[in-house]
């Protein structure tokens, strides 16, 4: 079977000027032997040859890489859509360059209002991030706020909602996974996870998309007897190696940046990206998925063929195996719900 690579998430550098307590990448110092400018430009060309639709550049903090514009502009020249995720604590000089790129989207992480955001991300980071976000917005860039929910900021969601309403800024809510720097005790409980889904469903019922364009990220799923879909598209199982790919700043290539490094398929200095993508034995956890691979959380579920066990990143870091994501509305409903007793 042929797989069409549509989207790439590319960690431009692991270097970061913040040390967020929930950072899944454990970002801070740059990786040893990050790709050179020439190597990165060659990768862009290979991605264009593969017909990639879009690249989401992230980090670390992607704008700390000096050649970020050159790399992203090369993607633009090849007709590839670009998106960025930043912590927003960055010199505003990047905004004029961003405007030249005409990116499809620019996201800034906001994890609460000032006190909580700064507790998670570091002193003064809230004011800087908001200032960057609003300056980008004033310059006509298409902006998104990403909120990564853990136990420390769950109850900040209503305040963030009040801030975003009417600003024409998208809001992506996602669940923090116990990887990198995030301690397991800060991961939301099943009930809290469900309440986040309920919150998003409520917002989408109460406000028009124009007033409050909010979605749950792919980890907010997957099927439900009660909640309407809160994602952007149908969930068809983890897309790692099916139509998405992650590239680390040192050239290591993996189905998704949120799964463990032992699933790295190869390094771009030793193996071309086309060779990696077209290898029949690559990404076997998804490309050769079958019912036998389901974990106990998902075995016997009527949605298993469509769902394939949810987000493999969350699944692995919560249960040490793929296709076994405990953060599933349908599973939680079966476990907790007796609607007649509401």
């Amino acid at each position: 079977m042929d797989y069409k690579l549509r989207q790439v998430t590319w960690e431009l550098t692991l270097k970061c000027n913040l040390r967020c307590i929930h950072c899944g990448s454990n970002a801070g110092e740059k990786r040893r032997k990050e790709l050179t400018t020439k190597e990165a430009l060659d990768v862009v060309k290979d991605l264009a040859d593969l017909g990639v639709d879009e690249i989401c550049f992230l980090g670390g903090e992607p704008f700390l890489r000096k050649d970020w514009f050159e790399i992203a502009n090369e993607a633009k020249e090849f007709g590839i859509r670009t998106l960025f995720i930043s912590n927003g604590c960055i010199n505003k000089n990047v905004i004029s360059k961003l405007c030249k790129l005409e990116p499809y989207g620019v996201a800034v992480s906001i994890d609460g209002m000032e006190k909580v955001h700064d507790a998670i991300r570091g002193r003064s980071s809230f004011k800087k991030a908001i200032s960057f976000l609003l300056s980008c917005k004033d310059n006509g860039l298409p902006m998104t706020i990403i909120t990564t929910v853990n136990k420390l900021n769950l109850r900040e969601l209503p305040k963030i909602k009040d801030f975003i309403i009417g600003k024409n800024i998208a809001w992506q809510i996602q669940i923090a996974s116990p990887q990198g720097r995030l301690s397991r005790h800060l991961v939301v409980s099943e009930e809290e996870f469900y309440a986040v889904g309920l919150f998003i469903a409520w917002l989408r019922k109460k406000y028009s998309t124009k007033e409050l364009p909010v979605i749950g990220a792919h980890c907010c799923g997957y099927f439900s007897n009660y909640l309407p879909n809160i994602n952007m598209s149908y969930w068809k199982g983890c897309s790692a190696g099916i139509n998405i790919l992650g590239i680390k700043s040192n050239g290591d290539t993996i189905g998704c940046l949120s799964i463990p490094e032992k699933f790295i398929e190869g390094n771009l200095r030793r193996k071309g990206i086309k060779e990696i993508w077209n290898d029949n034995n690559a990404f076997s956890y998804n490309r050769k998925f079958n019912e036998e691979q389901l974990g106990t959380n998902c075995k016997g579920c009527k949605y298993w063929k469509k769902c394939k066990g949810g987000c493999n990143g969350l699944s692995f870091f919560m249960t040490n195996q793929f296709h076994n994501d405990p953060y599933c509305y349908y599973r939680i409903e079966k476990k907790f719900f007796k609607l007649d007793k509401i």
Partner: protein, 52 residues
């Protein structure tokens, strides 16, 4: 269930609103997973305001 209810209220959702979301779905046999847009393929990383 009760706990979900209580967290929902802490997030600003009234009891009536929670009931409406949950009961309406049950009684109306609301379709599951209505997609928001037609982008073919999961978008990882970030959504764009242009998608919504």
């Amino acid at each position: 269930m009760r706990k979900i209810y209580e967290i929902g209220k802490e997030l600003g959702i009234t009891e009536e609103e929670i009931k409406e979301i949950l009961y309406k779905a049950t009684n109306d046999k609301q379709k599951i997973n209505e997609p928001m847009d037609t982008y073919k393929g999961g978008r990882y990383g970030t959504v764009s305001i242009r998608d919504l």
